[in-house]
Every structure is written in C-alpha cells, then in structure tokens.
Amino acid sequence: MTTATPAEPTVDTRHRVLLIRPWDVSDGVGAGCCSGGSAKGLCVDPQHHPVRGGTRNIERTGWAQFARVYRGLRASLPADVTVEVVDPRNHLYLLPALIRGARRRGARWPAAVRAALRGPGYAAVIVDGQVVSSGRLPSPDEALHQVRAALGVA
C-alpha cells in the first residue's frame, strides 16, 4: 500500500491533482461489454498467456514512466491532496470537473468551456482545473515541482 507522509499539512484539503493518462498508455477500446471493457480486459487471463505478455509489452510501452510520476506525486504530496489518474476518454468526469475547476478560479463560462476542451492534453497535469503541464510526460521531480508551485507551497 502506498502511504503518503503528510509533510505539508498546510495545503488546502480541497486541492485535486488530475493526471491525464497519455492516450497511447490508456486502455479503453470502446467496444462495449463484449470486449471485456478494455485492452487489459481483452485477455481472459493475461497472466496466464505467454503470447499476451508479448502483446501487452508492445501496448504498454511508457506505462512505467507514467507510473513513476503518479507514485512520486502520491508519495510526496500530503495524503489529503487528491491525486487522480484519469483516462482521456472519460469525458463524463473530465468535462464537468474541468469546467467546475475553471469556474472556481473565476473564469467566465466560455473561458471555462475552452479550458475544459484544452485541458485533457497528452499526459497533462491539472491542479484544481488549471493545466500546469501538457504535451509530454514530465519527470517525477518536474511534476512535483509544478504541482507544488500551483498549490503555492515550497
């Protein structure tokens, strides 16, 4: 289990960090329940299948680097700062969340919608609805630095 040390208890508990899973690292395939739901669900039992292992490795290049960013943030930020990994296709959650975040920061509706459309970029790091990094997967240290800066903590 990953447990975070509450090193900076002064951080506002309402803060939410969204990590957009890079689209080539995400696993949705949009085929409905008959697909088993995802690239991972494609195999009845991936652990048992040698050929599947090979396929999985091709499909999951880059997963480890993304995981390091997530683990780095989770381990270094206080436990009461939420860190979420979100699939970029998850518009059902992302659009309202990003619009709400932008509105909280005082943006007008058109600007909030624009922010929501531009938000879920490749490997984006979003703090309280504000994009702090996008377009490439940052290193764990970079991501932590950017998130801390956005949260206003050293």
Binding site: M1, T2, W23, D24, S26, G28, V29, G30, A31, G32, C33, C34, S35, G36, G37, S38, K40, G41, L42, V44, D45, H48, H49, P50, V51, R52, I58, E59, R60, W63, A64, F66, A67, R68, V69, Y70, R71, R74, E84, V85, V86, D87, P88, R89, N90, H91, L92, Y93, A116, L117, R118, G119, P120, G121, Y122, A123, A124, S134, G135, R136
Partner: protein, 588 residues
C-alpha cells in the same frame, strides 16, 4: 402512452433501485467495509492498480461496458410487447444485473482484484476454469457471428452508411496519429473527427454503395458478401496494435454514444411520441414463447455476463474504497439498462406512427428479429428528425452509430477470441496454434464466419434471430457462472445469498429451458441442423455449470455449518480458522 412518461418512470425506478436496493446489497449482503484496504492501495503501482475516485471510475466503467448489444436484444424482444420487454429490463437491471455487476466487483476486490476466470477456478473448482474458457469461446464465437450479420444487414438496408464507416477507419487512424505526434489534447480533434464523420454521413447518404451487382457476379447474397468483407477486415484489424485503430476510434465512439443517447431522450421529449406497440402482443401461433425466450433475447440491458469480465478485469484494480463498488458497479448496470430503455422507446414509439405500421414491422418472430436493428435505426432516425434532421439522413446517422459500435466489438471480439484459442491450445499443448497469431486468428474467425453465412431465408432473417438467441443464452450462462461465484463467496461470509441465488437459478432455468426447446427446433428444421451440435455443446456446458455451482454451494454450506460462531471449527481444539470467512481476503 407518451414515451417520455415511460422513460421518466423507468429512470425513476432505476433511481429507487440504486437508493434502496443497492444500499441493502452493500450493507446486508456484501457487507462492504469502508476500512478494507482495496487492491488499488495494496498493490498501487500507478499502472494497473491505481486508487481512483468513484466518479472517475464510474465514467470509465460505464464507457467500457456500453455498446451495441443492449440495443439489439430489446429491439427484438418488443415482439412480445413493450411491457414485458420493459419489465424484464427494469426488474433484470435492478435485481439481477445490479447484483451481478456489483457483486463481481466486490468479490474481485476481496480476492486481490483477480479476474472472474481465475476466481471461478478458486471459488468453484479447478475444473471450472476450463468450463469458463469454453463458455467464453462460444460466447465470442456468437458475438462475432451476430455482429457480422448486424453490420451486413445494415449495409444492405442503409447503403448510405458504407462510405462513412469505411472512411472512418483511416479517419480514426489519422486522428490517432495526429494526437500521437502533436500530443495535443484529444478532445478537440476527436470532436472534429465526429464532425467529419457526420459530413461523411451526408456524403454517404447522397452516394449509397450497393453491392448487389458484385454479389450477383460472385453468385452470393449481398449480406453474405458483407459478412465475408467484415471478417477479412477484422482479421486484419485484430492484428494491428490497439493504439493504431481501436483506441482512436474509441474517441469517436464515446462521443457518438452520448450524442445518440442525447438525441434519443431529447427527440422523445420534443416529438412527444406515443407508444404504438402493443403492451402485450398477441403473437402468431408457432412463435417462440415469452418464457423462456424473452429472458435470453434481452441479455445485455437486463443482465450481461460480460460485465463480470469488466468489473473484475479492470475496475476492481482501481477501486479506491470498497464502499465505492456500489456507486460504480450497480450504477454501471443502471446505465446499461438506460441504453436498453432507449432501444425500447425507439422500436415501440419512434419506428411507427400507428399500430398498423408497427404490426407490419413485427408480424412474426423471424421478421421481427431480422429487422430489429433496422427498426431501432428507423426509430432513432425519427427521434433525430424531431430535432430537425432530415429523416433519410438521420437514418444513416443512426445506422452509423450502430455499425461503429458493432465493428469495434467485432475487432475486439476476434482479438479476444484469438487469445482464448491460444489459451485453450496451451492447455491442450497445441503449441503450433498457441504460438502462431495467424493460425490462432484463422481458428478464431472460422466458426463465427461459418455461422454468419449459415444458409437461411434472408428476407425472414431466421439466421440472425436464432444466432441472437444462442448468443443471449451463452451470455446468460456466463452471468450464471459469475453469480455462482458471488453466491459461494457470500455464503462463506455467513451472509444470506438468496438475492444472488434467485437471479442465478432464474437465469440457469431460462437458459437450459431455451436450449432444450431450441434443440428440438433445430433438429426439426433441415436448414438449422448445423446448429444442433452447437446447441448441444452449450447445453452440456450449462448442465456442467449447474452441477459445479451446486457442488460448490453444498460444500460451502457444509463448511459453514462446521464452523462455530467464533470462527473455529467443530472438533478443533484451538485452531483458528485463519482465513476467516471471507475466502482469501484477510490482511495481516
């Protein structure tokens, strides 16, 4: 009755089901513990195991399970009347699908997020793993066959859909490459993709592609030519990496899902259509009886065994708190039920203006099943036309929505079937097949292709209706297997499994009953004799499943009786029952 009133009533019942019944399941049956350390925390790796907020996870779970299947079944089942179809959707969703999807998620979470195949072996018996693989093999065979026929029939009936569907393939690849190379946010390009697709729908509407001449030249029915084309396409597509075609198309599909749902409910409201289908249809003599066939015709949308794969394969690895399972698993089932509701509204209210028109579309079961998807398309087209879209164009739009989902299902179905073939080949030590993607791929498409091309009277469409019933039967068997796993686990936890046993027994009775009836039917009709062995095999699997479930439950009840109230075993001096009563879910 106004369709909108029906829609609101059903959604209200779903809400009540969530508020009251899922709470009962969470507290009294599954006994969820908010302090339980879920696998997402225990094995957190940032890849598969990631603690995820329940609202985020619901979005992912729902978009993973929503597809074409809950559309087709209800569109056929309205043949018996909209009321029984809707009742089964409502009751099935609240009391069977919710229990199943929610339960599969909880059991997986309590067993280190193992998938249902592995859990079957652990909870029921080692033999059950082979049983599970066999059921999945036939399920996928039928999925691929029925969706090939669905697509082929739509291409024949709506030739305007051909251009948008085939141009969508390079379009999706191009969008994927653009996003991949520029690393731009995917939302805007994918919306542009949807707009481009809608432009292609307009182009296709004015330039329909009919292959009657080509089919004549080949000496085949146009539908069969499309079936072959689709299998060639999926054989190739299933060899491509997931990120190249499947994932980018998923972006477009996910938009289409919400647009179609929005069009349906907005169109129902604006048009204020009245349901013209009979509440209970006086079906002609010789039609399949409502019992058991209604309950296997509507599988997805009332209960789908496939959902246990999603719940246990992916979602269980991301559940933040065990109590979130109620929100994600149960609510996901309600979402699928809402799709089925949309389908019923389309074919009971949208498709026809009068009862007479409706009767022409549903005169007998074969015509009803053969034309079901077309009826759905026409119904949705009517709802879209209520919003100002020209009817012919709206029909192509609706056909494209269904074909997009069905084609993606086939892509993944063939891919998944290849894995299953390889897995079975590994068990049988047929390494030449297990290690060759080509051989395994060919094996994966051979049987569904043969089934989809099965001779039959194309106009009456019995081939599709029959295949769909077999698909529904097998899907319900998978659900029965998952419910058996859940029931055994609940029994081990000293909880009353009755709310799981009731849908399980109901499903197993309906499926075996249907299989027996179909066996006689296939035997009697010359053209359907090829289905006799398939029906027999599925029947054997069903009986095998019943025996395995009964043995496992009996054993569990006996073990439970042998336990003292403090968890120690009768006769044991001081030995603690160290696995508790939960299976392997104890933590240090």
């Amino acid at each position: 009755m106004p369709a909108f009133v029906v829609a609101v009533s059903v959604l209200a019942l779903f809400a009540l089901g969530f508020i009251y019944y899922s709470r009962y399941l969470a507290t009294k049956v599954y006994a969820l513990d908010p302090a339980f350390v879920t696998p997402a925390h225990e094995f957190a790796d940032g890849v598969d195991y990631v603690p995820t907020n329940k609202h985020v996870l619901f979005g992912h779970h729902f978009t993973s399970i929503a597809g074409a299947a809950p559309i087709v079944g209800p569109a056929i089942a309205v043949f018996w009347g909209w009321l029984p179809a809707l009742l089964w959707i409502v009751i099935g969703t609240i009391f069977a699908a919710g229990v199943h999807d929610f339960g599969a998620l909880v059991v997986s979470v309590r067993h280190k997020a193992k998938n249902i195949g592995t859990l079957t072996a652990e909870v029921i018996s080692a033999r059950s793993r082979v049983l599970f693989l066999c059921i999945i093999f036939f399920l996928l065979t039928l999925v691929n066959a029925v969706f090939a026929v669905v697509i082929a029939r739509l291409f024949v009936s709506y030739p305007g859909a051909v251009i948008p569907i085939f141009v969508e393939i390079p379009l999706a690849i191009a969008i994927g490459q653009y996003i991949y190379r520029t690393r731009t946010p995917a939302l805007v390009p994918s919306i542009v993709g949807v707009i481009a697709l809608y432009f292609l729908i307009w182009v296709g509407h004015h330039n329909p592609i009919e292959i009657g001449g080509f089919a004549d030249w080949l000496g085949m029915e146009p539908q069969n030519v499309w079936v072959i084309i689709m299998f060639i396409y999926t054989f190739i597509a299933s060899r491509l990496p997931v990120w190249l075609l499947l994932q980018p198309r998923d972006y477009i599909n996910s938009h289409q899902l919400f647009i179609a749902l929005g069009v349906t409910f907005a169109g129902v409201l604006v048009g204020w259509e009245t349901i013209v289908a009979p509440a209970v249809n006086d079906v002609p003599d010789g039609s399949p009886s409502i019992f058991p066939f209604l309950f296997i015709t509507i599988a997805c949308g009332a209960i789908s065994g496939f959902h246990s794969l999603v719940s246990s394969g992916t979602t269980s690895k991301q559940l933040d708190k065990e109590t979130d399972a109620r929100h994600v698993g149960y609510m996901g089932a309600l979402g699928e039920g809402s799709l089925a509701l949309a389908s019923v509204l389309a074919v009971a209210a949208g498709v026809a203006a009068t009862r007479l028109d409706w009767d022409e579309r549903y005169p007998d079961f074969d015509t009803a099943s053969g034309g079901a998807v077309g009826n759905f398309v026409d119904g949705i087209a009517q709802f879209a036309s209520n919003l100002g879209v020209e009817l012919g164009l709206a029909a192509v739009f609706a056909a494209v929505v269904v074909v997009s989902f069905a084609a993606t299902t086939m892509d993944t179905g063939v891919r998944l079937q290849r894995y299953v073939v390889q897995e079975i080949a590994t068990i049988l030590r047929w390494h030449w097949m297990a290690r060759s993607l080509t051989v395994a791929g060919l094996a994966a498409i051979a049987l569904p292709l043969a089934l989809a091309l099965m001779p039959g009277d194309d106009d009456r469409g019995f081939a599709f209706g029959t295949l769909w019933r077999l698909f529904g039967t097998t899907n319900q068997l998978t659900a029965g297997l998952a419910l058996a796993v859940i029931a055994v686990w609940v029994t081990k936890r000293m909880r009353n499994p009755i709310v799981i046993l009731i849908p399980m027994v109901f499903l197993l009775v309906m499926t075996t009953w249907a299989l027996f009836i179909q066996l006689g039917e296939f035997w009697d009709v010359d053209e359907r004799w090829v289905l006799v062995p398939l029906d027999l095999v599925i029947l054997v699997l069903a009986l095998w499943l019943i025996v395995e479930a009964a043995i496992a439950l009996r054993r569990t009840v006996a073990e439970r009786r042998a336990l003292n109230v403090d968890g120690t075993i009768h006769g044991a001096v001081s030995e603690q029952h160290d696995s508790g009563t939960d299976g392997d879910d104890t933590r240090p």
